[in-house]
Subunit: 197 residues, 2 copies
DNA sequence: GTCTAAAATAAACGATCATTCATTTTTGTC
DNA sequence: GACAAAAATGAATGATCGTTTATTTTAGAC
């Protein structure tokens, strides 16, 4: 039997990316409430119907935007990750890289914050996204095993090693915290004092 | 000139409270997107039009709900505030009181988190709400002056003394952190290690 | 250029949105 | 019980919502 294959027309990656960017921009500016499908389409310069070629529905568009961002973030942060350094140096490096990434991509950070604390957040399995950042979690694990870091609940360690970054990088919450090297170094010192044994 | 006063009919405080509670419940369950005026009205068992007797519009209802919650929270937390204790004891007490309040009023905590990270957050002057908690900020100030607490940017101190509470009290973020006395004590120790000189 | 299948879209769907309006109900003094 | 004024409401407003459908446009193998 001879089967004829005809190449189907390909989806346009740039269009999908434009939809992600439009979603981020609008949700940051006017929130989930006002970010309607038609407005997102207009912002991305496509027809509202086109969105349904790329996504199942509005919810899928928004959740996909979130997951895409988390993937981008984890790649950027783990790009130059060197697990052979001393544990404190690894953590310190991550702090500087995360501040660098967030301050250059504040729109992503804002979107993630808004998404996570909204009911959309419950739609994403926390562990799925968390595993993108597995190497970071493993560092803390090693620190505990080597008796460098306090042996306490992991949620506590995270609350003092990772979450302060998301707080301090939020200019609405910390308008007096300038993201310069000295301030980041100071803040990291507090984080390290918190978790070190 | 004689002026005749007739008592006008009074607004019903219970109805306003019911609208606050309905707003909190629905926004937590289905988000700002789906929490329409008519659904909030139905939840509060009033007519949609009644909402406009008590509030200018939907935005006013939501912002007022937030401010009402923040006021309730600050009163609960500062109720038994004793500024004469040693600074570490004051902070430790506040930690326990805050965890107690949040775990008994998780709905308020959730609403505040979602509100703050949404564009509604920009509608509320941060300083207005912050001043409800002024005594707490003053404690840190005194700690710095008495050379008990590190002399660093106040946003940094807040990021390690207050924000970890909001993280740890969020069961979605910290599902492994049980809110018992031992765990709170441990977490506070890390916070104190971070900020103490 | 022809053909095909999928991308892309304009237009239309019923549903629901926030808000207003005309009317009724309730409150409290006289 | 009568009166006045504000609370309370049911119904209607035009606008916009998310999604679907029927149609047109486009990409790529032949």
């Amino acid at each position: 039997m001879i089967v004829y294959f005809r190449l189907m027309r390909m989806k346009d990656d740039e269009k999908k990316e434009a939809l992600f960017e439009a979603t981020v921009k609008l949700v940051n500016e006017i929130g989930f409430v006002s970010s309607s499908v038609s407005r997102i389409a207009k912002e991305a310069k496509v027809s509202p119907a086109t969105i349904y070629v790329y996504f199942e529905n509005k919810e899928d568009l928004i959740v996909s935007t979130y997951i895409d961002i988390k993937l981008k973030m984890s790649k950027a942060i783990l790009e130059n990750f060197d697990p052979t350094l001393p544990i404190r140096d690894i953590l310190r490096n991550v702090w500087f890289i995360m501040f660098d990434y967030i301050s250059n991509n504040l729109k992503y950070h804002k979107f993630v914050e808004q998404f996570s604390s909204s009911p959309y957040g419950t739609l994403v399995e926390k562990k799925v996204v968390e595993q993108y950042f597995d190497p970071l979690i493993n560092v803390l694990q090693r620190g505990v095993e080597q008796k460098i870091i306090k042996k306490v609940n992991f949620d506590i360690l995270s609350a003092f090693m990772w979450y302060p970054i998301t707080i301090l990088a939020n200019p609405r919450l910390c308008e007096n915290f300038e993201l310069n090297e000295e301030n980041i170094e100071t803040a990291f010192t507090l984080a390290w004092n918190a978790i070190k044994l």
